[in-house]
Symmetry: none
Subunit: 212 residues, 2 copies
């Protein structure tokens, strides 16, 4: 009989142990993980099993492996999973609708939160955003929203939004069209004035313009 795991699949255990290892060793994004052979010895598993776990995380875009160099903790924004998941899942309209709605939940909250606090709504960011949408230069919708989420300061919410955006990758592609610009400008002004309700209202109308 073995010493520990009567429970699960080995490679899932490895995935879990890799997570705790990354946390304990305090490995940051871009830094290197131990080699496969070292991991095999430390975690008490064969190289094949280690590789299966590593490949799974690679497909998710959580790590990046470079031949001859090693395995590196990747930036979660690397949406390699999108192509794969899109092929398998994207036919499901219900799921996509949930993703879209959930993105809007976080976006709307960020808009409201930005207007609520003086330390956020007095940032110079809003002046530059207003200037951008008031100009004739093309402005990407995604950039505007991301800036607002960053300014709002909830990093967890920002990360969730990143993942959902990579997953859906249609809602806010492209530039803000001329008809949208007055609404966006209204939203920014409401934030600067600290009118949270008006900002949320303008955001809702904008979101309604982008996707029916």
């Amino acid at each position: 009989m073995e010493e520990t795991k009567p429970s699960r699949k080995m490679f899932l255990e490895i995935v879990q142990e890799l997570r705790t290892l990354i946390r304990n060793e305090n490995i940051r994004t871009g830094e290197k993980l131990p080699s496969e052979r070292v991991l095999a010895e430390r975690l008490g598993a064969g190289r094949s099993t280690i590789r299966e776990a590593l490949r799974s995380l690679e497909l998710l875009g959580l790590i990046e492996t470079r031949r001859g160099e090693g395995t590196f903790l990747s930036d979660y924004r690397q949406h390699q999973l999108v192509d794969v998941l899109a092929a398998f899942i994207m036919q499901e309209p219900k799921s996509l609708e949930d993703v879209r709605l959930t993105m809007q939940i976080h976006e709307k909250d960020a808009v409201q939160r930005a207007a609520a606090g003086p330390e956020i709504r007095e940032l110079p960011l809003w002046d530059s955003l207003e200037a951008a949408v008031s100009s004739d230069r093309p402005v990407r919708r995604e950039d505007i929203i991301r800036e607002i989420l960053v300014a709002a300061g909830n990093r967890l919410s920002l990360k969730i939004w990143y993942l959902l955006n990579a997953y859906a990758k249609t809602p806010y592609e492209g530039d803000a069209e001329p008809p949208e610009r007055p609404v966006i400008r209204e939203m920014i002004l409401a934030i600067k004035n600290g009118n949270s309700a008006a900002a949320a209202d303008a955001y809702t109308r904008w979101a309604g313009m982008v996707h029916g």
Copy 2:
């Protein structure tokens, strides 16, 4: 020279080829895929490489493997990817405050959404919830919130909330104390009346009572 692409990683090619194989063979959810050895021969790769691709898809929840039986195409509608991704998101210097705030984002949206749609706010659920908080019996805060999230109908949002709630531990543990009950009742009544703003306001006050 090879027939296709010597450039990309083999196991990613296998993932791609598995997708076309599933489509061509018209394999439905729950049905069985060819065995690993058969796949290795048909796709011209070693069994280890086939397994790496299969495990990746398994971690994504796209397939399910049962020892001694085989590999089966699973129901991909479950957002299992959120579990894995969330586990890795959380590894960072996570401020518990962000977790708490992000939970409230989803909760508040569910409350507003419930009040917005007639098909939701007319559910018998609200009557039973109102009766529960009006009685003297203990009512768990967590149960109330979960019911509202379920009623709101965004399954992805619910899933994210589950994860955050499990991670934050103790945000809404325990029963709704007597001082909270009038506010909760006010929130429920606002939902039933379709007053989205009042419902959101009552929720905010309730959340402020629970954690300072």
